[in-house]
């Protein structure tokens, strides 16, 4: 079966407006959560759509799409992949979106209810629906291959990579994958707060604290990552000099317990992890570190800690750098994969974000740690019971160099 490798990464995140800026900041352990209108959030500082997107397109699209288009351009440049130089049917776009064009939608509904239907713009019909970013990406870059959008809340980023690999195996050699999210407009924040899972702290240090004894919920954040995923042979054929790693294994399960309550045990998260490992044909012992979902609520953290112990049966190093930036919904898992690939590349694993008092029986990475390994496991869960796991393998030496 063909192998799917990541050849380009683009990052738009609270931790940076480029892959390397994000990586430097993550290793430095900078906290990017701040208090905004009486709530903790993770904003992308200095991100302006105009800096990244054509003004004609700006007015037709939401902030979430601007971030997606910006990250896509970076990823394509990083991969030195120009879709226009290839048969248009040989590039697909498979993104994740958890909440669509929040700010745009709120503005238009407000216009309708305060000023009537003629105040609604022509672009509402194309700006807020979940497929807007994928459609705009396809149009901007002229890609005509199989494309899709997956909605599984926080698990979406991994599901998009799983679907990208599936698309590659079915004959489309290059796929733009990952996702972004921009859920910090007022109505979107209200919606999220009704989940009862957000931190209500106003002190950034006391807010989102994955695996901490004082974990008290997560902090919503914006941004994400877009990855260029390619068939390994096709990438080699076009002379790719940089491969970050391979999406070696993927699996998704659902708790299917109850729509209102978390499951009583972690068995379906365990299953997702084991199936992803089996899919990659590796044993837990070969995996050098885990990037956890790290939901940051006591119950969800306990379930994941239990699952990791059960799968590994040894103190495997566990990190959750998203504690530095907040939870980016569908963009989060895509960003986590980017981080894990950089950790594999440089042989250094970043610390759990914002961890003060480790609260679980895990080998939590407290300071960036040198770990020279070929394999990492990434977990992501989505609200309601989605569990997804991905196994990443460092690029093999086949006349192809690691990233950078």
């Amino acid at each position: 079966m063909s192998r799917a490798v990541v050849t380009g990464i683009g990052v738009v995140a609270p931790s940076g407006l480029s892959t390397e800026e994000h990586w430097r900041s993550t290793l430095a352990g900078d906290l990017h959560v701040s208090c905004h209108d009486g709530m903790l959030v993770g904003q992308v500082p200095g991100f302006a759509g105009e800096d990244h997107v054509d003004p004609r397109l700006i007015i037709q699209t939401d902030r979430w799409t601007w971030m997606s288009l910006a990250a896509t351009r970076m990823a394509l440049e990083d991969a030195k992949y120009d879709p226009a130089a290839h048969d248009p049917y040989l590039t697909g776009v498979v993104l994740a979106s958890g909440s669509g064009g929040n700010e745009f939608g709120q503005r238009e509904i407000q216009a309708l209810w305060s000023r009537g239907r003629t105040a609604v713009t022509a672009y509402q019909s194309i700006a807020w629906f979940y497929a807007a970013s994928a459609g705009q990406t396809s149009i901007l870059h002229g890609t005509k291959g199989p494309s899709s959008v997956l909605v599984s809340e926080g698990a979406g980023g991994l599901d998009s990579l799983g679907a990208a690999r599936r698309t590659i195996r079915r004959g489309t050699p290059a796929v733009i994958a990952g996702g972004t999210e921009a859920p910090l407009s007022p109505y979107a924040l209200v919606c999220q707060s009704t989940s009862g899972l957000l931190s209500t702290s106003l002190d950034p240090r006391a807010g989102y604290k994955p695996f901490d004894a004082d974990a008290n919920g997560w902090v919503p954040a914006e941004g994400g990552a877009v990855l260029v995923v390619e068939d390994a042979e096709a990438a080699a054929e076009r002379g790719v000099q940089q491969v970050y790693g391979e999406i070696a294994g993927y699996a998704a399960t659902h708790d299917a317990y109850h729509p209102e309550d978390p499951p009583p045990d972690c068995r379906h998260l365990v299953r997702a992890m084991r199936k992803a490992l089996a899919d990659a044909a590796v044993t837990p012992d070969e995996v050098g570190f885990v990037v956890a979902d790290g939901a940051g609520t006591p119950a969800l953290d306990a379930l994941e800690a239990h699952a990791i112990r059960e799968v590994f049966g040894r103190p495997v190093p566990v990190t959750a750098p998203q504690g530095f930036v907040g939870r980016l919904c569908s963009g989060g898992a895509a960003l986590t994969v980017a981080t894990a690939l950089l950790a594999l590349r440089d042989g250094i694993v970043p610390a759990v974000g914002n961890l003060s008092r480790p609260g679980h029986d895990l080998d939590l990475v407290r300071e960036p740690r040198r770990i020279d390994t070929d394999l990492a496991l990434v977990n992501a869960r989505g609200f309601g019971g989605f569990n997804s796991s991905v196994v990443l393998r460092r690029a093999r030496e086949e006349g192809v160099h690691h990233g950078r």
Partner: protein, 419 residues
């Protein structure tokens, strides 16, 4: 060995048809369910008509709690899935939950609830900084479209992969296609696959008004959805859901399931042209059709019926007429083509699944549903669109296509089952 996907259950909630039987009776009678909007006062809108479901979630079997925590689109999905699963004869206790998956499509998810609650928390749009105290407890749960997959997974004990596929108006075909891939690739043996949308709300009507995509034939709602007719003036909004039980053939055979048909091919492409515009040549849709037929190992001439996207906008009808000619050649002029949107309207992401349900039933009963309201064909639409009256015809292979905002083009091929 190749794993093949068969359809073993069908459930429908559609305008004018609260279940599969009523839906099929309506389609074959050529009745339309389009009417003046009753959900709210539509007077301010350019298009004041829609195909509404007369849907009572309690009579359909949902509990107060389920109704309270779910948007209407998820309620539709649950009811359609109940029917599909019951009909498939699946004994859930005997199915390996880890091999049971969910793949649901939706273009706009919980728009209705999103708008209703916004009106409350913003004091009718007066406040940008909305007031959290007025938000209902289940708001987030109701709004995230992934809840539709969660609800179905919990209801049927599906511990396999669960996904919501959201590609605008091709969501229904793409979600069923994704389910088909899960089976082919060995990730699941049974997939509860379909789509739901409930977009008849003020903001949806306003946004399609703004681009004049919807019909303004307000004085004659029953005849407003007129695909391929020279006097058509846009699509008529609809709502609903359809769910198919997809099953790996050996799994279905072992339990002695009744097999409706095979899902033999699926392909999707993008036009990379415009978010709402379509090139008149239909090249990308033709490409999707050709690939779906290749997977099914069918010659274009083997297609017995084409279920068109047929939205009733001028550019769509010409676009896909060209796509059929390009992909099917001379056979395009011989094969019957029809659009059930003429009767049930255009329910955005849901319609692809509803149309597939119609195709499954057409294969089973040997009846082609008509294109209602087709009196005077647009001269540029010169195929056999099965005007007004259903047609009895033995069918072995059926093609269903969809086209959506964002440039998505999808095609699914269903075939009478044979080894």
């Amino acid at each position: 060995m190749t794993r093949r996907t068969v359809v073993t259950g069908v459930g429908v909630v559609a305008p004018g048809g609260a279940n599969r039987r009523e839906f099929w009776e309506m389609l074959t009678a050529g009745r339309t369910a389009t009417r003046r909007i009753t959900f709210f006062d539509p007077t301010q809108f350019r298009s004041q008509i829609a195909a509404e479901c007369d849907f009572d979630p309690y009579r359909a079997g949902l509990t107060a709690r389920e109704v309270h925590r779910n948007d209407r689109f998820t309620q539709f999905a649950l009811v359609a899935a109940d029917e599909a699963v019951a009909e498939s004869g699946l004994v859930l206790d005997a199915v390996d939950g880890e091999r049971l998956a969910v793949s649901i499509g939706s273009a706009v998810g919980a728009t209705t609830r999103l708008e209703d609650e916004y009106v409350t928390v913003s004091d009718h749009g007066r406040e940008w900084y909305v007031d959290e105290r007025y938000a209902s407890r289940f708001l987030y749960q109701a709004l995230v479209p992934s809840s539709a997959a969660t609800e179905l997974a919990c209801r049927f004990g599906a511990h396999g992969p669960a996904a919501v596929v959201s590609t605008g108006c091709t969501s229904g075909l793409d979600a069923v296609g994704y389910g088909h891939h899960l089976i082919e690739d060995g990730d699941a043996d049974v997939v509860i696959a379909g789509a739901a949308d409930a977009p008849i709300s003020p903001i949806s009507m306003a946004c399609f008004d703004a681009i004049r995509a919807t019909s303004a034939r307000n004085d004659d709602p029953e005849h407003a959805s007129r695909p391929f007719d020279a006097t058509r003036d846009g699509f008529v909004m609809g709502e609903g859901a359809a769910v198919l039980v997809l099953e790996e053939f050996e799994h279905a055979r072992r339990r002695g399931a009744e097999i409706f048909c095979e899902l033999a091919g699926f392909a999707n492409r993008c036009n990379a042209f415009h978010m709402t515009g379509l090139r008149p040549d239909g090249v990308e849709m033709a490409e999707a059709i050709t690939h779906a037929l290749d997977q099914a190992r069918l010659d274009p001439t083997a297609v017995d019926y084409v279920n068109a996207h047929g939205s009733g906008t001028k550019q769509n009808d010409r676009h896909e007429t060209a796509a059929f000619k390009r992909s099917l050649g001379q056979h395009a002029y011989e094969v019957p083509v029809s659009s059930i949107k003429s009767m049930v309207g255009h329910s955005l992401g849901a319609i692809g699944a509803i149309e597939l349900a119609a195709c499954v039933l057409a294969l089973r009963y040997g009846v082609i549903p008509p294109t209602a309201n087709l009196e005077n064909p647009d001269p540029e639409c010169d195929l056999d669109y099965v005007p007004k009256n259903a047609r009895e015809q033995h069918l072995d292979a059926v093609l269903s296509v969809g086209s959506g905002f964002g440039g998505f083009q999808s095609a699914v091929v269903l075939r009478r089952w044979s080894r």
